[in-house]
């Protein structure tokens, strides 16, 4: 019984954090596929989203308004970032692009210290804080929110990319940029759209996690890294796989923390990354695509 409750607990923890990683990882995948850029500043969007929400709601806005406004602002920031830094440099080498996104993350982090200071900030949970007990394991309402919102966001993304016309255009642009151009689809517009979108998703992730862990200017780095791993494990080209990867990483982390030692937590997830890269470079869930050689 006890071991079952521990198992459940680990699973809950893994799913909660996994859903946060998932939101950021989807952003990675979208950005990477549309612009070819591995955006090391992705985690910073989470930081901006969380801190903005905290400021807005402490300024008196109701929580839901603060959340929406914060996401919109971060999307704007993301779009600006795309125009100012990614678009002009899109033809540079991989190393140069990586460094550019890292430079941007410096700017975001420095600006955050200036605006919000160095102390951590807190956000009240969306709906109460009384834990729900299942088999002696504890589930917090905020965890439900986290999993729920990320699944909803995933469903939203699915709807956007598969059911809406603009979404299909973005997808088309990913699959075959050349042909998309022939259809009159502007890749530049899609690139702008996709980075704003992934910035918004990142912001959402940050907002969800703020009530759980608090928010501070430096929260973006590690979230970004983990989401990276998730995206790569999923193959970097496929958003649903990235989400699975994110949950997997969340669960692996929880289990290595629960059964091993949390000091090795990061190393374990990176070791998983290496194993996947070495043995399944197309990702764990690489399904047979319709593509022919």
């Amino acid at each position: 019984m006890e071991s079952l409750s521990q198992l459940m607990q680990l699973l809950f923890s893994g799913l909660t954090i996994g859903s946060i990683y998932a939101l950021i990882a989807i952003g990675f995948v979208i950005t990477y596929n549309i612009t070819g850029v591995l955006n090391f500043a992705q985690g910073e969007f989470a930081m901006l989203g969380a801190l903005l929400t905290i400021s807005l709601s402490s300024a008196g806005l109701p929580l839901y308004l603060a959340v929406i406004l914060a996401i919109l602002i971060v999307m704007l920031v993301g779009g600006f970032f795309e125009r100012a830094a990614i678009y002009p440099a899109r033809k540079s080498s991989v190393a140069t692009l990586i460094i550019i996104t890292i430079g941007i993350s410096f700017v975001f982090r420095g600006a955050a210290i200036f605006i919000w200071g160095t102390q951590p900030h807190s956000l009240t949970p969306f709906s109460g804080n009384s834990p729900i007990r299942i088999f002696e394991a504890v589930l917090l309402p905020q965890s439900l929110w986290a999993v729920g919102i990320s699944l909803a966001a995933l469903a939203g993304m699915y709807y956007f990319f598969n059911k809406t016309y603009t979404g299909k255009a973005v997808t088309a642009c990913v699959m075959n940029r050349f042909a998309a151009q022939l259809m009159g689809i502007k890749p530049e517009k899609m690139s702008f759209l996709s980075i704003s979108l992934s910035a918004g998703l990142g912001a959402l992730a940050g907002i969800i996690i703020a009530p759980i862990s608090g928010a501070s200017y430096q929260m973006g780095l590690m979230l970004g890294m983990k989401a990276f791993i998730a995206a790569v494990i999923g193959g970097l080209t496929n958003a649903p796989a990235a989400v699975l990867g994110a949950f997997l990483i969340g669960i692996i982390e929880a289990f290595s923390e629960g059964y091993l030692s949390s000091g090795y937590k990061d190393a374990v997830s990176f070791a998983v990354l290496l194993l996947v890269l070495f043995f399944m470079p197309n990702g764990l869930f690489s399904k047979k695509s319709g593509k022919r050689v």
Binding site: Y32, L38, A84, A85, P88, A89, K91, S92, S93, V94, A95, T96, I98, I99, I100, I102, G103, I104, S105, F106, V107, R109, G110, A111, I113, F114, M225, F228, I229, V232, L236, S261, G263, Y264, D266, A267, F270, A271, L273, L274, L277, F278, P281
Partner: protein, 342 residues
């Protein structure tokens, strides 16, 4: 045209290199400030790491986001061998080189099947794993409390205790490293690396084994990083695992990218720019009226970095090289000849 002219086209220009060497040698006597000499010691150490990275990135075309691991391996090897077991410092340096070679081999074989972003992430993961070992293997490394009491570097009874003597040591190693790397990249091995960078399939078609060539480049750069790490440990006398975190790897990459990986001098140039920029921002940013703390320095640094790379995506030395390097004037003559030939 004979081979002398050919080799002169890349060998260091005697005039230029003499001036440079002279400048490097008299510098500490002109500038008596230990602070400035220290910045140059750091530049020298970073220069060594980055020269190795230039060979790996600029010539073999392989990206690494995990070089802090090799730097750390060197530092901790020296610390443990000479600080804990009281062997002479040179033994620590050699241990570091040996371990770095083995680790490079182990990580290189699976990694080099990967390309670009995937390779970057794999090396990043490798860096995190090494960092975790340094952090968690407390019985050997002291863990996060750090490792202190590393003796000064000593060779043949001479101990490098002052900043000035250490400056000469580091720059001598750097000069040797540059010379070695320059010889190497203009040899059979170097051509093989460069041709992989140019076109992997063409390189294979002339019989170049991609894997062994890339491994050679990785091992060389790992040794450079390890030596620099060893020297760093002896210089600073206190190290802790956080010095060898992912961020340090990123800093190395920043240096190489802003310096320009296509030129041998790119690594050193990047190290100079990075160290100076950070130091100068410390003085300049408060002059602009921001005096709260370091956040503006970070913002300014980030903005400068992005602007620089948007306008000079090949790095400073990269574009310099297009104008025919200062250090190899022969190319200019060839240029004239081209004009005549057309």
């Amino acid at each position: 045209m004979d081979i002398k002219k050919f080799t002169r086209s890349y060998r260091f220009n005697l005039y230029g290199i003499t001036v440079l060497l002279f400048a490097v040698i008299i510098f500490p006597f002109l500038v008596p400030s230990n602070y400035i000499i220290s910045t140059f010691i750091l530049i020298g150490l970073y220069g060594i790491v980055c020269t190795g990275l230039v060979v790996l990135m600029g010539h073999a075309g392989q990206i690494s986001l995990g070089h802090a691991a090799f730097y750390g391996i060197g530092a901790y090897s020296s610390a443990i061998v000479s600080g804990k077991f009281d062997f002479p410092p040179l033994a620590g340096v050699l241990t570091g080189i040996l371990i770095a070679c083995i680790v490079a081999l182990l990580i290189g074989i699976p990694s080099f099947k990967l390309k670009e972003h995937y390779l970057a992430l794999a090396t990043l993961g490798f860096g995190v794993i090494v960092f975790t070992f340094l952090k968690e293997w407390t019985s050997l490394t002291g863990g996060l409390n750090g490792f202190f009491g590393i003796p000064p570097f000593e060779v043949a009874g001479f101990s490098f205790t002052t900043d000035r003597s250490f400056y000469f040591l580091v720059w001598a190693v750097l000069a040797f490293g540059l010379w070695f790397a320059n010889n190497l990249i203009h040899s059979r091995t170097g051509r093989a690396l460069k041709s992989i960078h140019g076109s992997e399939s063409a390189a294979e078609s002339i019989g170049i084994n991609l894997m062994t060539s890339k491994l050679k480049a990785l091992i060389i750069s790992a040794v450079f990083a390890s030596v620099a790490g060893s020297l760093y440990a002896h210089y600073i006398s206190f190290i802790n695992p956080q010095l060898f975190e992912v961020m340090t790897s990123i800093v190395f990459l920043i240096m190489v990218v802003i310096g320009g990986s296509s030129s041998l001098w790119g690594g050193l140039a990047g190290a100079i720019i990075y160290v100076w920029l950070v130091e100068l921002l410390k003085d300049w940013v408060p002059l602009l009226g921001f005096s709260t703390g370091g956040e503006f320095e970070i913002v300014f640094f980030g903005v400068l970095l992005v602007v620089l790379l948007i306008f000079k995506p090949e790095g400073l030395m990269g574009s310099w090289k297009e104008r025919k390097s200062l250090f190899s004037p022969q190319k200019k003559k060839v240029q004239d000849k081209k004009g005549a030939a057309l």
